[in-house]
């Protein structure tokens, strides 16, 4: 087992695991709606499958959020 941080919380994972894999593992409701930062670096959506995680990685899911005025 390896330990990574997902959204600041420790998570135990089995390697190898890709960014797509960790998104699935965390049951992200709308994977199309999440932007990913790996160790502070932006990951292109096209690279989610090919980007593999390693021990002690820190991954953040950023969600699209609208809000405010519903006018335009």
């Amino acid at each position: 087992m390896s330990t990574i941080k997902v959204n600041d919380k420790h998570q135990e994972i089995e390697l190898p695991l890709s960014v797509s894999g960790i998104i699935q593992l965390n049951k992200v409701v709308q994977p199309g709606m999440v932007s990913v930062q790996l160790n502070g670096e932006f990951v292109l959506r096209d690279d989610f499958d090919s980007t593999l995680l390693k021990e002690a990685d820190e991954i953040d899911f950023l969600y699209f959020m609208g809000g405010g005025s519903d006018i335009f």
């Binding site: 709308q30 199309g32 932007s35 502070g40 932006f42 405010g68 006018i71």
Partner: protein
């Protein structure tokens, strides 16, 4: 500018702040801030900036007040239903602080008018709820070298960051608009009213910090919170070399009206 006795009294709690003082208040009174959207976020932003004495507040919004807005858009009152939002907002600002000059734009913010409108302002506040306009605000501000505050809220959550030229922009964090209609807006998914106030007041504080030069702005950081747990997180970011607008090989070279719903794009000359 020379403050009257009344103004010194009105702004005394700012002037008392060592970091602000008369000099900082003077900067606030000279500042020009554009608020895009007079809704959930724009309402608290406008009220706090008006109270603070921001010299000129521009408000752009093409909509009229709806009864369902009043649960969170605190600048609009029951008697304002059906009134243009910019007019309703202007009236409240004038009553709160007659020192403030209010410029209203009862129109949509589009690729056509974006650069022309923002050019007169020192700082732009994103108070819109849809992604086409959020990206348009980002792109226009990056092109024009204007600082702005991004704000988003949904259900019980909020997120915000501040852009100044040379720091991470919205596309550095989110690249491009999400597939149309996949992301619910507040009108579809709901939002706890007070969240708008929480997020909007953070945006207003960022404006005042920028204008006065006090403290460290929320740049290269995305602040998110979830009101269900009342946990706040700051995710560090930086200018992304793959960013399609401010990265090494920009592909976004002109303003575009992304259409929500169809994903069609209409290109407009910058």
């Amino acid at each position: 500018m020379d403050f009257t006795d009344e103004q010194i009294q009105r702004y005394s709690r700012h002037i008392l702040l060592q970091d602000v003082g008369v000099e900082g208040q003077d900067k606030i009174c000279q500042a020009k801030v554009l608020i895009i959207g007079a809704g959930g976020l724009g309402a608290p932003v406008a009220l706090y900036l008006a109270a603070a004495g921001i010299g000129t507040i521009g408000i752009i919004d093409g909509d009229v007040v709806d009864l369902s807005n009043l649960q969170r858009q605190i600048i609009h009152f029951t008697e304002d239903v059906d009134k243009p939002k910019v007019l309703s907002a202007k009236e409240k600002i004038n009553r709160l602080n007659p020192d403030v000059k209010v410029i209203t734009y009862q129109t949509l913010f589009t690729a056509e008018n974006a650069l022309e409108i923002i050019k007169d302002y020192d700082f732009i506040v994103d108070g819109t709820d849809n992604f086409p306009v959020k990206f348009l605000i980002n792109d226009a501000c990056v092109f024009a070298g204007k600082p702005f505050s991004h704000g988003g809220i949904l259900r019980f959550e909020g997120q915000t960051f501040t852009y100044v030229p040379g720091t991470a922009c919205y596309r550095c964090f989110f690249y491009g608009p999400p597939p149309a209609n996949l992301v619910p807006t507040c009108s579809q998914a709901g939002v706890l009213g007070a969240i708008a106030g929480m997020l909007g007041t953070i945006q207003a504080a960022e404006v005042l910090k920028y204008v006065t030069g006090v403290g460290d702005l929320l740049t290269n950081r995305l602040l998110t919170f979830n009101a269900k747990t009342m946990e706040f997180r700051t995710i560090k970011g930086k200018q992304n070399h793959k960013c399609p607008i401010c990265g090494e090989h920009p592909t976004v070279t002109e303003l575009v009206d992304y259409e929500q719903g169809t994903c069609d794009i209409q290109s407009k000359k910058k």
